[in-house]
């Protein structure tokens, strides 16, 4: 049972990152290969700031810095390349991944760093006959809150309506008078801001290393493809599923654990070629 909750924790991470990818894909029809690296940069910024302002200060600053980076990314990478093939953006963000990893390695070194959880959340609580760190539950709560917040925002706000419209068809939405460039800057900022958020909360849970981003982006890709590229609900379900499978796999069949998420994905794609939330054929 504890393992199931651990799977939930990992799934929560995957969701926070994957939903950023989904948001960006919806608006720009591109994949941000550097998303995992932004997650990693977010984690390091939070680490650096936490030394002065504590965990919560680190959280706020990291999210803000990453959101600002997102605006820059949209303005100077996604927008100029919008007319090119999507693979061009993929390659450019792939290049960015190398640059960011090297920058972080230069500043903070390549050794593992750890961040203590904030005092408020550092205890354990009894659960199913053993104890469980409060912090892990906090991670799940954050993911659920983000999921709920995003769902409400997309469903009920006017901007949310635009975002949904644009992710169905950016061109038509633009023709209806929606400024998709501005919208995209906002959406990319939210996506990268979430990368900052998950990077920050990853600090006390995972060890920080410059390669942590490249490591997690792969599971994220699996989640996004399984969920059906541009679906928010699909990403949510897929993240929880993959998180669960990943974790149980590591506990019970460590040698083959890495194959299990792929097996799930293959199964899903065989049954529904466009992913879990794929609309028809």
């Amino acid at each position: 049972m504890i393992q199931v909750i651990n799977g939930l924790v990992y799934g929560s991470f995957l969701y926070l990152l994957a939903v950023g990818l989904v948001l960006i894909f919806g608006l720009r029809r591109v994949t941000n290969f550097a998303h995992g690296s932004l997650f990693m940069v977010g984690a390091y910024i939070a680490y650096a700031v936490a030394a002065y302002l504590g965990f919560w200060g680190g959280l706020v600053i990291s999210v803000m810095v990453l959101a600002a980076l997102g605006v820059l990314l949209d303005r100077f990478v996604f927008r100029p390349l919008a007319r090119e093939d999507a693979v061009v953006t993929l390659l450019v963000t792939f290049g960015l991944l190398f640059v960011l990893e090297d920058a972080v390695r230069t500043i903070w070194g390549k050794d593992y760093l750890t961040v203590p959880p904030p005092p408020l959340l550092s205890g354990v609580i009894p659960m199913f006959g053993s104890t469980f760190p409060v912090y892990r539950l906090f991670v799940v709560a954050v993911a659920l809150a983000v999921a709920a917040g995003l769902a409400l925002w997309l469903r009920y706000s006017k901007v949310g309506l635009y975002v949904r419209a644009a992710s169905v068809d950016p061109v038509t939405t633009g023709m209806q008078g929606v400024d998709t460039d501005r919208l995209s800057a906002l959406v990319v900022a939210i996506g990268t801001g979430l990368a900052g958020l998950s990077g920050t909360i990853a600090g006390p849970l995972l060890a920080l290393s410059p390669s942590m981003g490249a490591f997690i982006i792969i599971d994220c890709f699996v989640v996004v493809v399984t969920g059906g590229l541009s679906s928010f609900t699909g990403a949510f379900v897929a993240a929880l599923l993959i998180g669960q499978v990943h974790n149980l796999g590591i506990v019970y069949v460590p040698e083959l654990a890495s194959m299990l998420p792929l097996a799930i994905m293959t199964l899903v794609l065989l049954l529904r070629p466009r992913g879990l939330a794929g609309a028809g054929r």
Binding site: T31, D85, F98, V99, D102, V225, L256
Partner: protein
């Protein structure tokens, strides 16, 4: 990305004389280099460059014919290397046969997987190939009993291979020639294939899959075949690697190797079959020139990738072809 190949291919099917000359010169050069270059270090570097050039050629061929970017070709490279290595450990097949199996196995895997994944959008294809390759890496990393995990395993090779002394494959001087000739033959073969009916068909599918289907062509199997072929080329590189080093680590499966191959293919320009190989040479020259800066090598290579992708989308080979056509004086 979607321009037609620069030669209207129906116009001349005959192999131009210059290509034959280039082929002969290239083979001769490969045999002469070790006699001219005496530095063992330089030869070692060049051998590595040529092995990676074979990998990049495989990746580039898939880009060229199908417009698909595989982020997982290290898997085929590594599977081939591990096939030879594990065969040495368990002694199932004679090494010559194991080498053939090491090339056919990744090709077969790619063909079967390809039937499913070449249909996907190009982005999903890239993401999936990465994920699958990484899964193989993790298996080799974690399954210590099989192949000694992260520490890698030494590969037992016989003293004679294909009638040649094993030293031939392990001395940089002779191995450079072997790898070079493999590279030249591979590029030439793929180049001929790209001009064939099959090559033209796959380019047509790349340009407009729906239209090709409407004209009455089957569009999935040809793309899966190209994928299998490019996997086989990556596997050849893996075999060369394992023969040369007689050692294999999970690093041969790691995504950064696929990444390097892509970077080479993009820098060299995949529109020409020989572009990725050229890119590989430039890559290693850059790396050598970077000298003290090699600590920041990832950033250099990342920045180069960004600059080339944005400013020179056809890569160095594209520039060379454009220059060549200009020199010919506007005949077309």
């Amino acid at each position: 990305m979607s321009a037609l190949p620069s030669t209207p291919a129906t116009a001349r099917r005959r192999v131009p004389a210059i290509a034959v000359v280039a082929f002969i010169v290239a083979v001769a050069a490969g045999l002469l280099v070790p006699a001219v270059v005496s530095s063992q270090l330089a030869l070692t570097l060049m051998t590595q460059a040529v092995i990676t050039a074979v990998l990049a050629t495989g990746i580039g061929f898939l880009m060229r014919q199908c417009g698909l970017t595989s982020f997982g070709h290290a898997a085929f490279f590594g599977i081939a290397a591990y096939t030879v290595a594990l065969n040495g450990k368990f002694g199932v097949l004679p090494t010559e046969l194991a080498i053939i199996a090491a090339i056919l196995l990744p090709a077969a895997l790619a063909f079967v997987a390809g039937l499913g994944i070449v249909r996907m959008p190009a982005l999903a294809f890239s993401m999936l190939t990465l994920a699958v390759a990484q899964a193989f890496y993790e298996i080799m990393l974690r399954w210590r009993e099989l192949a000694n995990g992260d520490d890698g395993m030494a590969v037992r090779l016989p003293s004679q291979l294909f009638g040649l002394d094993i030293e031939t494959f392990q001395q940089p001087g002779s191995m450079f020639s072997v790898c070079w000739i493999v590279l030249v033959v591979t590029v030439a073969g793929l180049w001929l294939l790209s001009r064939s009916r099959f090559g033209l068909l796959t380019v047509a599918i790349r340009e407009n899959e729906e239209r090709a289907r409407f004209i009455g062509y089957e569009t999935v199997v040809p793309r899966a075949l190209v994928y299998a072929l490019s996997a086989a080329v990556a596997a050849v590189a893996g075999v060369l690697f394992v023969l040369y080093n007689a050692f294999v680590t999970p690093g041969t499966l790691y995504w950064s190797l696929s990444g390097e191959g892509i970077v080479m293919a993009v820098i060299g320009g995949a529109h020409a079959v020989w572009g990725p190989a050229l890119g590989s040479v430039i890559f290693f020259l850059l790396k050598d020139a970077a000298g003290d800066l090699t600590e920041h090598w990832p950033a250099i290579i990342g920045a180069t990738l960004i600059v080339v992708t944005v400013l020179v989308p056809r890569g160095i080979s594209g520039l060379i072809i454009a220059l060549f056509q200009k020199l010919k004086g506007g005949r077309r």
